[in-house]
Structures are given as structure tokens and as C-alpha cells.
């Protein structure tokens, strides 16, 4: 507990949507920030007790240990299908998936596209850190052209290894998607914008306005071989030019949401 005196003002504490379990994430990884944004939003909306999260396979496979909500753990890439099953039988619940880029944009592309196309009333938090983190930094569909990874040691060669998949742009083409945006977590101003987007995404679901997804550009200092600060710079200087921040789909009903 944080001790305060009558003259102190408590301005920062653990969101009640978190358990007290310390996370297993590497120093400088932005998963912790992304988790916190979700936790703050669930607390502010008063929906902790009616939320069911769906964890992916990847670094955030243990997300269920950190959130003070019900949780299930999906097979690699299948979180949107599992979430569909939950939400369809319990439509008054708040259901979200939390997925990395290997999970969502590689093996799970079929499930995410179909869930968005069906307009499932789900919220997806999509962590784009341009590699497979948990298995040790292999090339992902989101790896930047020329980026060195443990499975593209000479740098991603687009003529043989293809181009980055831009998930927000891709899903925004689907009529079932109501709110699809990309944000970054590389500095406080962007983190605040990301928080607002996460809030709108959950509000979209709670209001029954359709499928929502927030793509969050994230760091992976360990596998990128960078200090945490350098990794944040990499997001700002290298990732954002390939993955421009912005609102890719905001349906008219979502646009007039009052937060």
C-alpha cells in the first residue's frame, strides 16, 4: 500500500483491474503499458466484473495472470474465434482479445478478418512489435523491410520474404469493422492518445456498435538488441513511417460517441 499524509495527493496507483502479480515482461517492453491502458479503461468504465479476456499465444500468453477479470487462453491465432464463442452466448459481457503480431497477423489472420467482417461485438488490442517476441525475435508479417531478425539475419528481403502487413489499414476495408485505429506508446503524449483509443474501442463494444481494434506500436528491446530508450526511438523513427498512426475506420455511430 502507498502511505499518504493529509497533505499528499495520491496520483498514481495500481488499477483495480490488475492483480498484484508482477509481470514477466522484459525491461523496457511496452506490454506493461498496454496492459495498464486496458486495466485503467476497464476500471473507469466499471466493467471489471463483467469482462472476460482472451489471451493469445506469444509474450502475452500469461495476460490472464495480470488482469483481475475472468480470462481464457486461446490457441495461437484463434483468440477472435474463441471470443466470438464467448460473446455470442453471453452478449452482455465485455469480451476482449489481446494479441501480438505473430498471433494476429500471421497464424491468426483468418480468424481476425472473419471476426471483423462479421462485425463481432469484440474489442481487440493488437500489439505490433515487428517480430515474434516469445520465440526469440523471428521475422513476423509486421517486420520492417530490411529489418534484421533471428530468421531474417540479412534483413527482411521483400522480394523473397514479402512486405509488412498493415493490419489497421487491411481491417478498415471491412464493413463489419466499426473502430480501427493505430496508436503508439513511444512517449507520454502518444500513450495518452492510445488510452483514449482503447476507451473508445471498449465503448464501441459496450454500446453494441460493432467490432473494434486498436493497433499499438510497441517495443521489443530484448529481441531488437536495443536499450529501452533506443527501442522507443526505433518506434518513432523507423516504425511510424511504415505504420502511420491514425484513425483508419470510425463508423458514424462511433464518431459521435461521448466519452
Amino acid at each position: 500500500m502507498v502511505m499518504t499524509t493529509s497533505t499528499d495527493k495520491l496520483i498514481y496507483t495500481r488499477p483495480t483491474a490488475f492483480t498484484e502479480t508482477p509481470t514477466h515482461y522484459c525491461p523496457g517492453c511496452t506490454h506493461g503499458i498496454a496492459h495498464r491502458l486496458v486495466a485503467e479503461v476497464l476500471e473507469e468504465m466499471g466493467v471489471i466484473e463483467k469482462t472476460i479476456g482472451v489471451a493469445p499465444v506469444g509474450c502475452s500468453v500469461f495476460a490472464y495472470n495480470y488482469f483481475n477479470t475472468d480470462f481464457v487462453e486461446a490457441p495461437h491465432g484463434r483468440a477472435p474465434a474463441m471470443a466470438t464463442g464467448i460473446k455470442r452466448v453471453l452478449p452482455d459481457r465485455v469480451v476482449f482479445t489481446y494479441q501480438g503480431d505473430g498471433d494476429l497477423a500471421s497464424i491468426g489472420m483468418g480468424e481476425i478478418v472473419a471476426a471483423a467482417a462479421r462485425g463481432e461485438q469484440l474489442t481487440v488490442i493488437f500489439i505490433n512489435n515487428a517480430n515474434f517476441g516469445m520465440t526469440g525475435g523471428q521475422m513476423a508479417p509486421t517486420t520492417l523491410p530490411g529489418q534484421k531478425t533471428s530468421s531474417s539475419p540479412a534483413g527482411r528481403e521483400v522480394s523473397t520474404q514479402g512486405y509488412p502487413i498493415k493490419v489497421a489499414e487491411l481491417l478498415a476495408t471491412l464493413d463489419g469493422a466499426s473502430y480501427v485505429v493505430r496508436r503508439s506508446m513511444h512517449d507520454p503524449a502518444n500513450i495518452r492518445k492510445a488510452k483514449k483509443a482503447v476507451r473508445i474501442a471498449f465503448e464501441t463494444q459496450v454500446q453494441g456498435l460493432g467490432f473494434s481494434l486498436v493497433e499499438l506500436l510497441s517495443t521489443c528491446p530484448t529481441n531488437w538488441g536495443m536499450t529501452p530508450v533506443k527501442a522507443l526511438d526505433f518506434v518513432a523513427e523507423q516504425m511510424i513511417p511504415v505504420y502511420p498512426l491514425g484513425d483508419y475506420k470510425v463508423s458514424p455511430a462511433v464518431a459521435v460517441l461521448k466519452i
Binding site: 492483480t19 471489471i48 466484473e49 463483467k50 469482462t51 472476460i52 482472451v54 489471451a55 500468453v61 490472464y64 483481475n68 477479470t69 475472468d70 480470462f71 481464457v72 487462453e73 486461446a74 490457441p75 484463434r78 474465434a81 474463441m82 471470443a83 466470438t84 464463442g85 464467448i86 455470442r88 452466448v89 453471453l90 459481457r93 465485455v94 483468418g110 480468424e111 478478418v113 472473419a114 462479421r118
Partner: protein
Amino acid sequence: MTRELWKGNNAIAEAAVRAGLEAYFGYPITPQTEVLEYLSRRMPELGRVFVQAESELGAINMVYGAACTGVRVMSTSSSPGVSLMLEGLSYIAGTEVPAVLVNVMRGGPGLGNIAPAQGDYKQAVHGGGHGDYRQIVLAPASIQEAVDLMVLSFDLAEKYRTIVMLILDGSIGQMMEPVEMPPMQKVRRRDWDWATRGRDQHPNGERRFLTSIYLDPIEEEKTNLRLLKRWNIIQANEVRYKDYFLEDAEFVVIGFGTAGRVALSAVRAARAKGIKVGLFRPVTVSPFPFDAVRELVPRTRGFLVVEMNTGQMLDDVQVAIRGRVPIEFYGRPGGVVPLPEDILAEIERLSSDILSVDRDPRQEWFKRMSALTPAG
């Protein structure tokens, strides 16, 4: 009670509805597509959940998600589609949530054909997804039995927090027979102490999570042993089979599903010719009725295993009999349904031939088969 004419696939769909099915997730594949079509109308009519998934992968993971909330949920598919679902089945088994799946089996491997077959016995009974788990597998031989077992499937799945798979040869799904439908059950959402429905639905507001990950091998080993312990209870309590003319039988035919049904006609014909032969038809092929087969050993001169494959259940029969009595095999794989007269000829051969426990039943059959249908 009235009997109505039902097509197999429609009948199991209606039976599932009457058993309290709350959510169905499926994908079209012949010869099970009528289940999907039937439920696409029937489920919304009752205010229940129907989703045509993007793939069998999608369908089984929707089942997995819904199963975690503790409602009665099912999918149906056919052989190639079930192969795609195996990943999900392994996770469902590892998470210990109840789920029901129907496989209306067709000829294979690969794309195969859409004719009735029993080539998925090993996948259903011995294999399936990765890891160390078992599932209940029920094999009906008529539409009435399929309907009755469909209802039972949900009860067993919930009782043991396990997967129950109903395996229908394509013919059971496609043909029509008179059926007495079970009564309509109310949809009951039970207060399972494991279901994840959000904390405000749990008695103490506690947080629940469902997962199949146990990074510590000791914990995974405990899980494997817990699953086996549960399986031992299933094996002790849930073995089901039907027997016909076994009282004085010197020879016993063993077959499941359609093969067992055709064999019954052959057994009747053989009885008319004075051959003392009976039929043993496993209804639970998993758990396999090992003890019941073993009990037949002292009074049986020879067994004939009949399957619509190249001898898959045969291995289980051999385990049960342990080489103490001769076994012969007759199979028609690839979507070919054996005729009663073919099986009758085998029964006649069984009763007149010199049998030996040293013969490999599959290889002896293959030699005879090759003379008729040379392997390509």
C-alpha cells in the same frame, strides 16, 4: 409416442436442440452439411446461437470459447474438417471443458470422397490432437441410436468435463429412418464452479481463468494423471455395447456403426443356415469394451472383425483377446460399404476353415482382398 421419418443429419440436429444445445458453430462439408443448414433455421427460431464459421478452425475455437462459459455447445463436421479441428480439441481437452463434436465420416485420406467410411476410428479413438488425452467416442448404427446418443453426449460431456465425439458413417447422416424424437429439454445454464462468465456471475466474485498451459512439467504431469484418473472412472461406468445371438454363439462377429449393422443381417442369414454365430457391436468405441470382449474368449472358437477401413478397431480387439482365440478380419475401406452376403461368406469361411492364433488377420485379409481388388 410417435415415430416420424427423419434424415440422419437433420435428426441429430433436432436431437441436439432438444438436449438443450445453446450454441452451434459449423462449416459446410459433405456429408454433414444438412446439420448446419437445419440449425441455421432452427437455432435462431428458438433464440439460440448459430454461427457459420470461417473454417473448421474457427468453428472449433468458437466451440472452445462457448464451452468455457459452461453452456451446451457443439459443432459437426466430416473427416477432412475434423482434421482441422484437432488443434482445438487438444486445447479443449487440456482445459477440461465439456464439448460435443459429430464426425459424419467419409472416405479418405486426403480429400478422399463423400461415401460412408470408418477410416477415422484411429483418429477419434487413439489419436486426434497432440498431447496425452482421451475422449469419449460413440458410434451409432441407426438414426434412432444416433438421436439417443446425441442427447447422451451432452450429459457425458458435462458429467466428466470432457469431449464427446459422435462418429457417424456418412450413410447414417444421409439415410432416412423412422425415429422417436426425445422430449424437448429446457435450456439449463448450470452454475459450474469453473465456468468463466465474468466475476459478477461467480458466488464469491472470484476471478476465474481457463487455460491449458502448465509450464512446470510436474504440474503438466499432474494434469495428465488427473485426466487419466477421470478416464478410469469413464471406463468403469460408461462402456456401452449391444450384443445379438451371443447366448450359444461359437463364433462372434465384431463391428461398429454401419459395418456392425450390415454384419447383423449376415449373422441372421448365417443363423438361418445353422451356424452358431453372434454379433458384438461396441457403442462406445472409446472407452472400448475390452472387458466385455475378453469375457467372450473362453466360449468362442473364433472372432471376425468387420470394418469399413483396413483394420483399425481390429487392433483394439487384438488387445482384448491377447492371442488366445483366432481372429479374422474383413474390411472394405475407401467408402465401400460391405454387403451382407460378403460378410456371410466370411462367417461361413470362419466356421469351416482351420483357424490359427498365429495368423495375422489383417495380412490374411489383404491376401484374399488383393485377389479380388488388386492394390493399385
